[in-house]
């Protein structure tokens, strides 16, 4: 059962863990960014690369279409081969 995605909240958790994928954590370090300031768009406020870029106001057009690309890859699986 899909769990209803929690509203994007500050992903600060009791144990101090920030829910972010490894590449987003790496990017945040490169940008010298505190991940607790970033709104995560995933379940439980999980932060992805696109969220970090959005927080920085970086245009996601060419360089990092992290969210649109999966939709593109979804297409082939649907088409009967």
């Amino acid at each position: 059962q899909p769990v209803a995605p929690a509203a994007p909240t500050q992903p600060t958790r009791a144990d101090g863990r920030v829910l972010a994928v490894p590449a987003a954590r790496q990017l945040a370090r490169e940008l010298n960014l505190d991940l607790t300031q970033v709104r995560g768009s995933g379940p439980n406020g999980r932060i992805r690369v696109s969220d970090v870029l959005a927080h920085q106001g970086i245009n996601q057009g060419q360089a990092a279409p992290m969210q649109t690309a999966p939709a593109q890859t979804a297409a082939p699986a649907q088409a009967p081969a």
Binding site: V21, Q67, A69, A74, A77
Partner: protein, 467 residues
């Protein structure tokens, strides 16, 4: 659901698609019946996925015993009791199909025995009784395609079902017509059992759908084990004579014909959807020319309360696709927002090494317009593979250049199918190669080769030079 039907859901066919649908629908509180004319478990449990894997395992143990000499373990005379082998395999099948029967009971799914045939869009005749249902799921699966000129007698000329019964003695010369997944799995089994095996394939490449590099690596491994492979070759006809089956083979490019003699011939040239006796037209359900009953992302056919799942719905004809679609159909009927939205459906040839993949091949990715980078890590550089005595193969990763987004993973090697778990989840989670490269993988494992392939994408693999 409306009270006037016997059942909330009637599932037709108790293969992996059907039994998943039936059990999930029951879990969600619906009143469910499942009609099956043969045995619960369908092709998959009875004459497909499971018995082939049992025979493959047995064959691999024979090979393993031979390779044990490398580390000093040798055996005296080896004996294979073929009757026991077939019995062991059948025992596993019986245990699993019995398990499905028990799960039906425990979940209160009514099991109806007999041929199902539509009377109208809510009414189905099953054997002698007639039942009605608010929603109906068609899960009638598929059957082996036939090849003109080669009549299957399940003795010397067999389809996959006949090939599952290992003859005693094992055939000395075996021909597999069709170099797809099924053809190669049987080729591998018979080769390990001692047959001299030849695989022929009409197309220029074997295992259609898999990545070209992976197929090359796989083919190399199969040939190394003594399996002969001829592509762009077809079988025109067969004649049974005293010394064996005489098969006329034709080189598709030159048209040159030769006759070769085999003790057993397997016809494995694909499968076709199965709708015989279903009388789908009585329900107004569309059946395509090729026999498929197409469905949308919620598995609905053109008749909204009738669903189609698994092999009968579409390619690829794979059990895990059928299972997923079964769950989706059941959940949609129960009012849940389910959808068959898989990014990728994995494929596996369970030989040794295995060939396993999920997502786009390099060529598919390019064809779709992706700018692609790849990373390859050979198992010859894996410590774990060495300790397992299985260093043939590699992990290849296909990644979008600018975004680092993972597009596909292609593996030739031991336990490749187990490594697909990570690859499949990565694709579904829209992971990047960096996500995989930054994740600690236990040492020493085959999974480290997945990590290293991701590092290789960035020219940063540790155990190979990155060029």
């Amino acid at each position: 659901m409306t009270k006037s039907y016997d059942y909330d859901v009637l599932v037709i066919g108790a293969g992996p698609g059907g039994y998943h649908a039936a059990i999930r629908a029951a879990q969600l509180g619906l009143k469910v019946a499942c009609a099956e004319r043969e045995k619960v478990g369908g092709v998959c449990l009875n004459v497909g996925c499971i018995p082939t894997k049992a025979l493959l395992h047995a064959g691999e143990q024979i090979a393993a015993a031979r390779h044990a000499a490398d580390f000093g373990l040798t055996f005296g005379e080896q004996r294979m009791d073929i009757a026991k082998l077939n019995g062991w395999k059948d025992g596993i099948v019986k245990k699993l199909t019995g398990g499905v029967g028990a799960l039906f009971k425990a979940n209160k799914v009514t099991h109806l025995t007999g041929q199902a045939s539509f009377v109208d869009d809510h009414t189905v005749k099953v054997g002698e009784q007639t039942v009605t249902a608010a929603s109906i799921i068609i899960a009638t699966g598929s059957e082996p395609a036939k090849l003109p000129g080669l009549d299957v007698d399940q003795e010397s000329i067999v389809d996959s079902t006949g090939a599952l019964v290992m003859p005693d003695p094992v055939p000395a010369r075996m021909l597999c017509i069709g170099g797809g997944v099924i053809g190669f799995e049987f080729a591998h089994v018979y080769n390990n059992m001692g047959s001299k095996v030849k695989v022929i394939e009409f197309m220029p490449n074997v295992v259609p759908g898999a990545d070209a590099d992976a197929v090359k690596e796989f083919t190399k491994a199969m040939k190394k084990q003594g399996i002969e492979i001829a592509v762009q070759t077809k079988a025109n006809k067969a004649e049974k004579k005293a010394d064996g089956v005489h098969v006329e083979l034709e080189d598709v490019k030159t048209g040159a014909k030769t006759v070769e003699v085999f003790d057993r011939v397997l016809v494995a040239v694909g499968r076709r959807p199965r709708t015989d006796g279903l009388n789908a037209q009585a329900a107004g359900v569309t059946v395509t020319d090729r026999g498929f009953i197409p469905a949308d992302k919620q598995q609905r056919t053109n008749v909204p309360h009738i669903y189609s799942i698994g092999d009968v719905a579409s390619n690829p004809m794979l059990a895990h696709k059928a299972m997923k679609e079964g769950l989706v159909a059941a959940e949609v009927i129960a009012g849940k927002p389910a959808e068959q939205d898989a990014v990728a459906i994995p494929g596996v040839v369970y030989t040794s090494p295995e060939l396993a993949w999920v997502g786009l091949t390099e060529q598919e990715a390019k064809d779709k317009g992706y700018s692609v980078k790849t990373g390859v890590f050979p198992l010859s550089a894996s410590g774990r593979a060495m300790t397992l005595q299985q260093t043939d193969g590699f992990v290849k990763m296909v990644v979008e250049k600018d975004t680092d987004l993972l597009l596909g993973v292609h593996i030739v090697g031991p336990h490749a199918s187990d490594l697909l778990g990570e690859a499949g989840l990565a694709l579904e989670m829209a992971a990047t190669a960096s996500d995989i490269a930054l994740t600690i993988h236990a040492h020493p494992t085959l999974g480290e080769s997945v990590l290293e392939a991701a590092e290789a994408v960035h020219k940063q693999a540790i155990h190979i030079m990155n060029r």
